[in-house]
């Protein structure tokens, strides 16, 4: 095990390639793991043969932890998210959530996508009630639960609005309320704020942190925005491209709620950026010079196999 003390106080950096999966970090291992990913690999077929999008991914997320997966475009982070959600199958390896092996989508792991995916035929509150209705909860009770979570995202005023009347940020907040109303053990967030403007994102970072501190849900958050990851996460995994592997792991122990513009957040982001730079260079090189690129073969079209995933990509 390799423990490297970082320049900034409260930050631990781990070189993941040399870390055993059963690592012992003092103080973090007392809580039981909520999500366990073991040797997960996934490849897609391309004209040059099969290409690994994910290769031997191993990690655990503990109950109540906020974890961010960061990586450049096409590193397979959305694929990994889909595998955890049960929307896609891994070629090999296994995912355990709450002690049960993941074999399909389940209400214990609700996904929040890049686009809010609210249903336009339902108004705001009916959208929040959607999952509760499927669970068979009676109409009065589900209305109460829905109102409670709409209140949490400060949108009670808009409960009877149509979806198209909301702004992008409001839609995403309704999506968060809808996911929380299911009372899942885990929230899976797939670049939920990447389509929003900086201002809205800034507000939502506070809101999400507050919600997380209130509900203590386990959150797995995928992003390509490093500062966002530092602002939100307890722990950050950096994924490499082609094949997608976990390259580094960072612990962020800054006080909450954190601000994107906080000097520590900024400083720390810069350090992670350096780690990622090699990876980004690789992607850029591929995209600029697709013909002669030997390092990857579908990378430049890595998003192509995932035709079904609207929420994917950057």
């Amino acid at each position: 095990m390799m423990l490297e003390s970082a320049g900034i106080e409260g930050i631990i950096e781990l070189d993941h390639e040399r870390v055993d999966t059963k690592m012992e970090i003092p103080g973090v291992n007392d809580v039981k793991p909520n999500l366990r990913i073991r040797h997960v690999s996934k490849s897609f077929q391309s004209k040059n043969g099969s290409v690994y999008v994910l290769e031997d991914i191993n990690f655990e997320i503990k109950q109540g932890e906020f974890v961010c997966l960061v990586g450049p475009s096409g590193c397979g982070k959305t694929t990994l998210m889909n595998i955890v959600a049960g929307l896609e199958k891994a070629d090999s390896g296994e995912v355990w959530a709450n002690g049960r092996r993941v074999s399909g989508a389940g209400t214990d792991r609700v996904v929040i996508f890049q686009e809010a995916a609210l249903f336009p035929w339902l108004n705001v509150i009916k959208n929040v009630e959607f999952g509760l209705k499927l669970k068979g909860i009676n109409s009065r009770e589900r209305r109460n639960i829905a109102l409670e979570y709409l209140k949490m995202v400060h949108l009670t005023k808009f409960q009877n609005s149509h979806v198209h009347e909301l702004s992008g940020g409001m839609k995403q907040r309704v999506a968060i309320a809808r996911a929380l109303a299911m009372n899942p053990d885990m929230l899976l967030m797939d670049e939920p704020f990447s389509a929003l403007d900086a201002q809205t994102r800034w507000i939502l970072h506070f809101e999400l942190q507050n919600i997380w501190m209130k509900t203590k849900k386990t959150i797995m958050f995928v992003t390509h925005n490093i500062r966002e990851a530092v602002c939100l996460a307890d722990r950050i995994f950096i994924l490499s491209t082609s094949p997608g592997r976990i390259k580094k792991e960072f612990f962020v122990d800054l006080p909450r709620p954190r601000d994107d513009n906080d000097v520590h957040v900024a400083e720390y982001s810069t350090r992670i950026m350096k780690e990622l730079k090699a990876e980004i260079d690789k992607v850029v090189k591929c995209e600029m010079d697709a013909d002669s690129c030997t390092e990857c073969d579908i990378k430049c079209t890595t998003e192509a196999p995932a035709k079904t995933d609207i929420g994917g990509g950057i």
């Binding site: 959600a85 049960g86 929307l87 989508a105 389940g106 209400t107 792991r109 609700v110 996904v111 996508f113 686009e115 995916a117 249903f119 336009p120 035929w121 339902l122 959607f130 999952g131 209705k133 499927l134 669970k135 149509h162 979806v163 198209h164 009347e165 809808r178 996911a179 299911m182 899976l188 079904t308 995933d309 609207i310 929420g311």
Partner: protein, 252 residues
């Protein structure tokens, strides 16, 4: 308001022209009756209830035929839209049959069902079902996979996925198909009633022809137009407007 005024003036002028043509007496009355006698025939038809009975019988037939075709059309459309095997087999059959004018089913209907109500209901059904099937298929295929994935992570599967997500998401397409299906069904109904003698509005048209009573022919035609407009205004326009507002398809 202004457009309504223009419309009223247009129709008043049209009826005046018609009345003038009648008064000139270029054509005999059994070819061109006066608007007044058409109105009288209409009033008489409602008074002696012959028109009302005709309307009731025709509406009953279309309600049954069209009702069945909505259920069957949505079901078939879902099958074709969701399952590759049905798309490759049933889908090609449906699009082939769509090119066949509905009235061509009449000989078959007569042999299968005889000269009765059921033959006409079958024609109505055949008129609407294909449009609804094709529109539902298109609607199902256009449902964003994001909705389906989001619903799955919230526990939607099997029949509930269809009832709570796929059908509502495809509804704008289904409504368009239903509207087109309605107009085909209405045409098929009239064609069937003209050719099979068993009451209904189409039959009243034929009686008018047999009695050389042109004013009855025109009166019944007016009723048929009116019903078509009423169904369109009272049902489809309202549903479409509601849908547009809800989905935010058009800024009103």
């Amino acid at each position: 308001m202004y457009s309504i005024l223009k419309r009223v003036i247009f129709f008043v002028l049209l009826i005046t022209l018609w009345e003038m043509l009648f008064w000139w007496g270029i054509w005999p009355e059994y070819i061109l009756p006066s608007p007044v006698s058409v109105c009288k025939t209409l009033a008489r038809g409602f008074r002696d209830q012959s028109l009302l009975i005709g309307i009731a019988i025709s509406m009953k037939r279309i309600a049954i035929g069209y009702g069945i075709s909505i259920g069957a059309g949505i079901f078939l459309g879902l099958l074709i839209g969701r399952f590759r095997i049905f798309e490759e087999t049933l889908g090609s059959l449906i699009s082939g049959l769509q090119t066949l004018p509905t009235i061509c089913w009449l000989p078959l209907a007569l042999l299968w069902f005889g000269l009765n109500d059921r033959a006409i209901i079958f024609l109505v059904f055949m008129g609407a079902v294909l449009s609804i099937t094709i529109a539902t298929d298109a609607g199902v295929k256009s449902v964003p996979s994001l909705y389906i994935r989001a619903a799955k992570t919230m526990g939607a599967k099997g029949l509930k996925l269809y009832l709570e997500v796929i059908i509502p998401a495809a509804l704008p397409h289904i409504i368009i198909g239903m509207k087109q299906g309605w107009s085909f069904a209405w045409r098929s109904l009239m064609a069937g009633e003209l050719l099979i003698v068993c009451l209904g509005l189409g039959h009243l048209l034929m009686i008018g022809r047999e009695l050389n009573d042109m004013s009855q022919v025109i009166a019944v035609m007016l009723v048929i137009i009116l019903i078509g407009i009423l169904v369109d205004r009272l049902f489809f326009m309202k549903v479409e407007r509601h849908m547009r507002e809800r989905w935010g398809l058009v800024k009103s």
